[in-house]
């Protein structure tokens, strides 16, 4: 008798424990119900201007934003892995490029924002199949080379005007004790930038990406832009142009090394401006004296630009009508009433008609704008599965792959993703 009771009690206790552990916290409210908080996922390295926007919204609406920080190294994987579990924020901050938005199945998971006011005023929106899913609030990320002015001047060098100049610059700096190019292998994603930037000329107005998607071009064509970019990267590595600890350096280290004059150049994007200002002690004039920025492609000064994840907002479908409405309210504020203050707080270049461009841009910020004027969209923006480029380049950096094999691997990834995305012909 006692045994039976014991058995029953223990069984019930464990089932209760398991069930309580597995129980969800789903809640459902009416659209009219008052919302006091919204969860917002964003990259932990968010800019101060966007953080200021959050605070302004909280003050204006009385709604608390519960910020969920996602680490910036591996930001995409960390976000999508969490997303895959079925967990949903009320507001998602994520990339603006379609190739990275496709895997989140926007038609199924995001609210349609097409009818909102910001759409008609925005320079760009996240639009897939004629439906607006995301609001962009920041100037595009302009990809190019940060260089230390003194290092180049002291060695009789001009800022490079093409990738060929970069190779020459590397030769000139060999043996000086200064790393010609500081590469951030530990962060992973920056390693793809040199091949990506080298394709800018081929991808003007998205031409190369379109040719790949329509199967006019193949990614593993030995004479194609991708293999050329990977070959350039491989040659730079073989020629000793990168820092000796390239595989263990993070992008934060590389920015610091360029400011400190330990390296001549590093390839990153313009949204790290605030990090540079912070590192140099907040002195923007000193930063202008120390660091310059230039966009480079294979044979000319052409940058690559993509709208980035900072300040790109989506309103996921959560099943909670009140919170879904409040998330749209946040996007309305971010692109409307709160927008000009955010732009002024930077200062930032506005991306909405009717917004005033503030004064006070630094020389470095103006060089971003100048580079953006002639920039090409990244090849990675329009091709699903291109995210694997960073895996290919980290392998080349670690001497585990070569340009041809890398291009083949990327082609397989694109085949897999484009097929999953239902793109015609794939």
């Amino acid at each position: 008798m006692l045994d039976r009771r014991l058995m029953a009690a223990s069984g019930v206790a464990v089932i209760a424990l398991a069930v309580s552990g597995c129980a969800g916290t789903a809640e459902s409210t009416d659209a009219g119900e008052e919302v006091t908080s919204l969860t917002l996922w964003h990259g932990a390295c968010v800019t101060p201007e966007v953080e200021g926007l959050y605070e302004a919204f909280e003050a204006e609406s009385g709604i608390t934003l519960e910020l969920v920080d996602i680490r910036c190294d591996g930001f995409e994987n960390a976000t999508t892995t969490r997303w895959a579990t079925g967990d949903r924020p009320d507001i998602l901050t994520y990339h603006a490029i379609p190739s990275l938005v496709y895997p989140l199945n926007p038609a199924e998971n995001f609210q349609d924002l097409s009818d909102m006011d910001f759409v008609s005023k925005a320079f760009a929106t996240v639009t897939i199949d004629d439906t607006v899913y995301g609001a962009i609030t920041q100037f595009p990320e302009v990809y190019g080379f940060y260089y230390n002015k003194a290092v180049l001047a002291d060695n009789g060098l001009e800022p490079p005007r093409s990738m060929a100049d970069l190779v020459e610059m590397c030769s000139s700096l060999q043996g000086t004790g200064i790393d010609p190019i500081i590469e951030s292998g530990a962060s992973g994603w920056p390693t793809q930038l040199i091949p990506l930037l080298s394709m800018a000329e081929a991808n003007q107005d998205g031409a190369y990406a379109e040719a790949v998607l329509s199967k006019e071009e193949t990614l593993d064509d030995p004479d194609g832009p991708l293999v050329a970019g990977l070959t350039l990267y491989s040659d730079l590595k073989a020629d000793g142009c990168f820092n000796a600890d390239a595989t263990t350096t993070s992008f934060e280290d590389s920015l610091a090394a360029v400011i400190d004059g330990e390296a001549a150049v590093t390839v990153l994007h313009s949204n790290f401006y605030d990090s540079l200002v912070t590192y140099i002690g907040g002195d923007r004039d000193l930063l202008d004296e120390t660091v310059g920025f230039v966009g480079l492609s294979l044979s000319e000064q052409m940058a690559t630009a993509n709208y980035g994840p900072f300040g790109t907002f989506y309103a996921p479908k959560t099943g909670d009508a009140a919170k879904e409405a409040a998330a749209r309210e946040f996007i309305e504020f971010a692109t409307g009433a709160g927008y000009q203050d955010m732009v002024d707080s930077g200062p930032l270049f506005p991306v909405y008609e009717g917004a005033t461009t503030p004064d006070g841009f630094s020389e470095l910020q103006l060089s971003f704008q100048e580079a953006a004027e002639t920039a090409s969209p990244g090849v990675n923006a329009g091709i699903p599965g291109f995210v694997v480029l960073k895996d290919v380049t980290t392998k080349i950096l670690a001497d585990q792959s070569n340009p041809i094999d890398g291009a083949k691997e990327l082609a397989l990834s694109v085949q897999q993703a484009a097929g999953a995305a239902g793109i015609d012909g794939w």
Binding site: A13, V14, N77, P103, D245, P384, A420
Partner: protein, 314 residues
């Protein structure tokens, strides 16, 4: 635990204690009194292992992705894809090497520590606690700490630099050393548990057997190999199996120390699973998950059977 004592045959004056014969393990009957203690484990295993495993099975053969709501049966094409992209074999090779290093380091170090700390003294109690501390640290935190230690400008290189001026080495930047380093850190993390198991095993060896061997003139090394080690077999089985399986399913230390790099030299199977989930290829990730499970089963069952055959009752 102790059901019968089989004393070793004591040989003539010059003889030494010989290997103890392996006897059949005593079978324990499950009685009505023991069921209440077994049921919670069975339920937990069902809820947290069996059900997820069964749910994972159909997805392993499906085209489930984050890209659309359509899920179709695709047979073995997920495995073909993983093989064609080199992910399956690279990650398997990395995982097996990683697991073997982890298992060897963990057991050798733990066994040595157990012998050094077997007596319950104030000093040994302190050191047992000290060596157990890493177990209490989050694997991610431990990984980040070691990543800083192993940094080219970190304290390890600085310490070596005292002896070898100008020494600089990127421990996590070299494909081979990175794998060894991460496996060592994983072993360091879990050594404390294995040490406690070995201490318990050593202290359960009957003193009279050791004394008899000593009277027979067996030197310390012989006493260890011929008496202590055979009687440690249950602890050895437990530690070898758990450390190996633990290492075969490694993820957290890898994620915090190297993110699978440099290149894919530390990309274990579980790391590859998470990566595929991150790319929204849930079906492919499920296939890889199934492969990990089968690998663990294929390794664990024969290993346990073989090790259990070696065990004897003390």
């Amino acid at each position: 635990m102790v059901t019968q004592l089989q004393a070793p045959p004591v040989s003539s004056p010059a003889g030494s204690a010989s290997a103890l014969p392996a006897g059949p393990r005593p079978r324990r009957r499950v009685t009505r009194r023991t069921w209440p203690f077994i049921i919670p484990s069975i339920v937990l295993i069902c809820v947290f292992f069996t059900v997820p495993f069964l749910l994972n099975l159909p997805f392993a053969f499906s085209s489930w992705t984050g890209y659309s709501s359509d899920i179709a049966f695709v047979g073995l094409s997920n495995f073909e894809l993983l093989a064609s992209r080199g992910i399956l074999w690279t990650s398997t090779a990395v995982t097996v090497v990683y697991a073997v290093i982890c298992m060897l380091v963990q057991n050798v170090v733990s066994l040595s520590l157990a012998f050094a700390l077997r007596d319950t003294t104030w000093g040994n109690t302190f050191f047992r606690s000290l060596f157990f501390l890493p177990v209490l640290i989050s694997p991610l935190a431990g990984g980040y700490i070691w990543r800083a230690i192993l940094d080219p400008e970190g304290p390890l290189n600085a310490a070596i630099g005292v002896v070898v001026p100008g020494f600089s080495f990127a421990w996590l930047g070299d494909p081979v050393w990175a794998l060894f380093s991460v496996a060592f850190v994983d072993a360091w993390k879990w050594c404390g548990i294995a040490t406690l198991v070995y201490i318990a095993g050593i202290n359960s060896v009957p003193r009279e057997l050791l004394e008899a061997a000593e009277i027979d003139g067996a030197p310390p090394w012989t006493r260890f190999w011929k008496v202590t080690f055979p009687l440690l077999a249950p602890a050895f089985t437990f530690n070898v199996v758990t450390t190996l399986i633990g290492a075969l399913t490694a993820y957290d230390v890898v994620a915090s120390m190297t993110q699978g790099g440099p290149g894919d030299s530390t990309s274990t199977l579980n790391f590859a699973v998470v990566q595929q989930f991150g790319y929204s290829f849930f079906g492919v990730a499920s296939s890889l998950n199934l492969f990990v499970t089968l690998l663990v089963v294929v390794v664990a069952i024969p290993l346990v059977s073989w090790l259990r055959r070696r065990e004897i009752s003390a």
